[in-house]
Symmetry: C2
Subunit: 260 residues, 2 copies
């Protein structure tokens, strides 16, 4: 296998890498990592990525982590169908925006994702079992995030601040897209690829967001029509609902998580 | 002027850009922004960078923000004396490390910098004057950070967590540098440029850090000997001490800040 991607559902950071691979028309082996079975903290996976996070790209045996870095790597290693602006200034604009996505947009969405979905699953696990699962998590930051589930969740203040950040991100997109077709200027780029999962996730979670942002809406509609977006979204989504279905009941799901 | 850099003292993110310019041997106009006079929140500066942060590069009239992006931009716009590995995998390694510096190492150092120095200055300002200065800060995240000075500072737990992150960063450096001459592999790169201000700042603040990390110590010694490092460090440092000296007394300094 030349290219393989370890990934979860086609949302958030996994979707960034899946979308980039599809946009560039690269054949790859999909290696599904089940986050709800904590497979990302399995010693076999931690041996591949010591941070215990998806996505991870393997190219001819070399491991690349961090979705934003993976996408720049794919663009440089496979220069056909370039997804970076040709000029240094356009690339700088793309990277400034990508930093915003990584440092503001994605963490804000992630907090709400945890609050709404992951928490529902994990609170079904017995506390002792859960604390044992926590011990396997390599990154302290990640352990702390999971530990919020065992104890208090995020505060109302933290959630409000994350919601504000989502709104700021959409306002910033509206301002950029009022003047340009794509987020880094006249050409489609990794800025658009990296933003799509967060923008789609924000409006899925808060349908009223972006209602007064016509350039944002137009961009989202153009993105939704892209064949690569459709192909990436067709990646099997086995999250919460699918899990409960597979296990037959919530009790079985909890039992499955315990065994994992 | 072809190239101009708005920057503060040769520490943290300003030092990253200053060091890159010196390593590449590029002539530039230095435009000093006095953070202790809150010049970064001045409407004239916010018109250049709406986030009200240094450093900012201006190249032929085009504005580039974010020190990590500025350095990649300089390397691409001025390809002589390249500071990126030639191969895509080396560049990916460089970017993964740069993300660690931006998201973990620098914020951890910054919290301690605030706690130890900036706070000393700002607490001398009357509360009402200070709250008025706060209103000019464009980014909410930055307003909140400055507001910690008006109210409670960082908690002991937050400071301990940041100290732990500094130690993790130095351990990670030790592991990389035990196997390679530089942080992105066999060649000097922007990973080293971007890390130097944080590593030097960490050992200045906590001299015991890195005592048991010989590869880290060796790297730091090699960095300190580089002519570009010496040249960048020779940028006038007008921080706290210099300010107090210039104003003659702490009371005059506070008066100066009030007028700013």
């Amino acid at each position: 296998v030349v290219l393989a991607l370890y990934h979860a559902e086609p949302v958030a950071n996994s979707m960034k890498a899946l979308l980039c691979l599809h946009e560039k028309g690269l054949a790859f082996e999909s290696r599904y990592v089940d986050l709800l079975k904590f497979e990302q903290h399995d010693p076999a996976f931690v041996a591949i990525n010591p941070n215990g996070q998806v996505p991870v790209l393997v190219h001819d045996g070399a491991v690349v982590t961090e979705s934003t870095v993976i996408n720049e790597y794919l663009d440089e290693a496979f220069p056909e169908t370039p997804l970076k602006p040709a000029d240094p200034l356009g690339r700088a604009r793309m990277r400034i925006w990508n930093k915003h996505v990584d440092e503001q947009f994605c963490p804000a969405l992630s907090m709400w994702g945890w609050h709404r979905m992951v928490r529902q699953v994990a609170t079904g696990i017995e506390r002792d079992t859960f604390l044992k699962l926590l011990e396997r998590i390599p990154l302290k930051e990640q352990r702390d995030k999971w530990a919020t589930i065992a104890g208090d969740s995020f505060s109302a203040e933290q959630l409000a601040e994350s919601r504000r950040k989502l709104e700021v991100s959409i306002s910033k997109m509206e301002a950029i897209l009022a003047d340009a077709a794509w987020l880094a200027g006249p050409s489609y780029s990794l800025a658009d690829v990296n933003t799509y999962p967060m923008a789609a996730g924000a409006v899925r979670m808060f349908p009223e967001m972006g209602e007064n942002a016509p350039a944002f809406q137009d961009w989202l509609a153009r993105m939704n029509e892209r064949p690569a977006v459709k192909a990436a979204l067709a990646t099997p989504n086995r999250a919460l609902g699918a899990h409960v279905e597979a296990y037959g009941s919530r009790a079985d799901l909890v039992e499955g998580l315990r065994r994992a």
